[in-house]
């Protein structure tokens, strides 16, 4: 964290000197007054300079945005980034020409970038923030695909009377499937295996007459 201690004849002067050293503005810093200073008699005897400690506040969201901008650029797919924040959930939406490269097969690159961004943001954040990274509405399209897949495989499970195991998925994708089949009375869903290879199993409900 960037921080500087400065002195001056008055508190204001000390703060200004610190801001000049940090090359920033007052609204982006946290000012701690260590000593208010004393004028002294006739400004000569017993005078004491004011001492302040100024700390630059790092905005975690700005840092995360900077991280994503740099990474996407160096991957050869520069992206514009739009930020939405709702409580502790921060959504970054990327758009650009070569977005497909940033999404990857089944979103694996997007998921990895999301995880790394989450690490970066929480290094600076005081409260835990949850990062969602999206590009070209990928998350929505993916959940529609997952819902379709869920219904199709539920049908298969009922027809065959056997459990159907899906491939490993991250937690929020599993949640989409659990939710999609929650109202289906003919099947039950549960997750098996350990992260990061946890997968869903759809099991038909045996009719007990």
């Amino acid at each position: 964290m960037k921080q500087v201690t400065a002195t001056g004849q008055t508190v204001e002067e000390a703060v200004e000197s610190a801001l000049a050293q940090l090359q920033t503005t007052k609204d982006r810093t946290d000012v701690d007054i260590i000593d208010e200073g004393k004028k002294g008699i006739f400004g000569i005897f017993g005078s004491r300079p004011a001492v302040v400690k100024v700390t630059v506040i790092i905005d975690p969201i700005e840092e995360a945005k900077k991280f994503l901008t740099q990474v996407s650029e160096q991957m050869g797919a520069p992206a514009e980034i739009e930020i939405k924040r709702e409580g502790k959930q921060v959504t970054f939406v990327m758009s650009g020409e070569k977005i497909a490269l940033l999404i990857g097969k089944r979103g694996q690159t997007l998921n990895s970038l999301q995880y790394l961004t989450q690490l970066v943001i929480n290094r600076y954040a005081t409260h835990y923030l949850n990062v969602i990274l999206d590009a070209e509405d990928y998350r929505n399209r993916r959940s529609e695909t997952l819902i379709q897949l869920a219904h199709r495989l539920a049908g298969k499970a009922v027809k065959s009377g056997k459990d159907v195991a899906l491939e490993p998925m991250p937690s929020y994708e599993r949640k989409v499937i659990h939710t999609a089949l929650a109202e289906n009375k003919r099947v039950k869903t549960f997750s098996d295996g350990a992260e990061p290879h946890r997968f869903i199993v759809i099991t038909p409900v045996r009719r007990s007459v």
Partner: protein, 76 residues
């Protein structure tokens, strides 16, 4: 590519100045050897290698347009 690895790793470690990437290249492949401060090893590997896996996925995606196969090795 070297720069990309540094951009990804530096913000997640405590000692960004100790992040170093060495390149070894032969006919078929390029190996990037990432070394970080000893105390930062856990941060770049993560629980069950989750961070390492994420870094590799991003790096391999960036290198997919190249002819040679890319490898990323992590060490102290």
């Amino acid at each position: 590519m070297k720069q990309l690895i540094e951009t990804i790793v530096k913000p997640i470690v405590d000692f960004p100045e100790d992040v170093q990437v060495d390149v070894m290249e032969d006919d078929h492949r390029v190996i990037y050897q990432l070394s970080v401060n000893k105390t930062d090893m856990g941060k770049v590997i993560g629980k069950q290698g989750r961070v390492a896996k994420a870094i590799r996925t991003v790096v391999y995606a960036a290198g997919s347009s190249q002819q040679k196969k890319i490898f990323l090795e992590i060490g102290e």
